[in-house]
């Protein structure tokens, strides 16, 4: 049986998807995706990255799938699964990474979130997200 487009799951199905909390609060779109290059040679998705800097990073930075697909490069392993980048050089950093917890049935979850410099702290309100994508619209964490 031939393989159709819909049967091939790829980055295009994740990137730019809307992320919502369980309370239907929209927290952004997937700008980029981080991965860990494991010792056995496999590359496993680790984080969803959102925010304007991450979006810009798809063109200008390294260490991400977006970069790999677009213009630049992907580096070897990441040491951390989740991290929130703070302010740098006086610029407000809105980048947020969401750890991809495969134990939760492969759905992205937030274990530690925050918007540093944005005047809000979402970590108390966002407990989980579900991945709003046409193919996975109703799946929840």
């Amino acid at each position: 049986m031939p393989i159709t487009d819909d049967q091939i799951f790829s980055i295009r199905d994740i990137i730019d998807s809307q992320l919502e909390t369980r309370e239907k609060r929209r927290i952004g779109r997937v700008s980029d995706i981080e991965a860990i290059w494991q010792e056995d040679g496999t590359l496993v998705l680790s984080s969803l990255v959102i925010g304007p800097q991450a979006l810009a990073g798809r063109i200008a930075s390294v260490r991400s799938f977006g970069s790999c697909c677009e213009t630049v490069s992907i580096t070897a392993s990441h040491s951390t699964m989740s991290k929130i980048l703070g302010q740098r050089c006086g610029c407000v950093d809105l980048r947020l990474t969401i750890p991809w917890d495969s134990r939760m049935h492969g759905l992205p979850t937030i274990s530690c979130v925050g918007f540093q410099g944005a005047g809000t702290d979402a970590s108390k309100t966002i407990k989980a997200v579900h991945w709003k994508h046409p193919r996975y619209e109703d799946r929840d964490c």
Binding site: P2, D6, T42, V44, L45, C68, E70, S102, H105
Partner: protein, 83 residues
């Protein structure tokens, strides 16, 4: 990002990255070439519902990737027979 064989022969440019369906979401293959870009834009098989043999994008299995240097994906020796 371009893909080259171990001998330095150009294979193509990465257009998309194929993933396993979960729950681990590991990279399965690199999708490249003209069909790869059409696939990424969702226009590779615009009439897929009526096509008997939909076209597939060209892929290089992740197992065939040896290393990444700069903006180049270098394949393992002997891994130049990609689909």
């Amino acid at each position: 990002m371009k893909i080259v064989t171990a001998e330095g022969k150009m294979v193509g440019h990465v257009a998309d990255i194929q993933l396993s369906p979960g729950p681990d979401y590991t990279v399965v293959a690199l999708i490249f070439g003209r069909r790869g870009w059409l696939f990424r834009l969702h226009i590779l098989n615009p009439f897929s519902s009526v096509e008997k043999r939909p076209r597939k994008p060209k892929t290089v299995p992740w197992d065939a990737v040896d290393r990444i240097e700069g903006d180049t994906v270098i394949l393992k020796p002997g891994c130049d027979d990609h689909r």
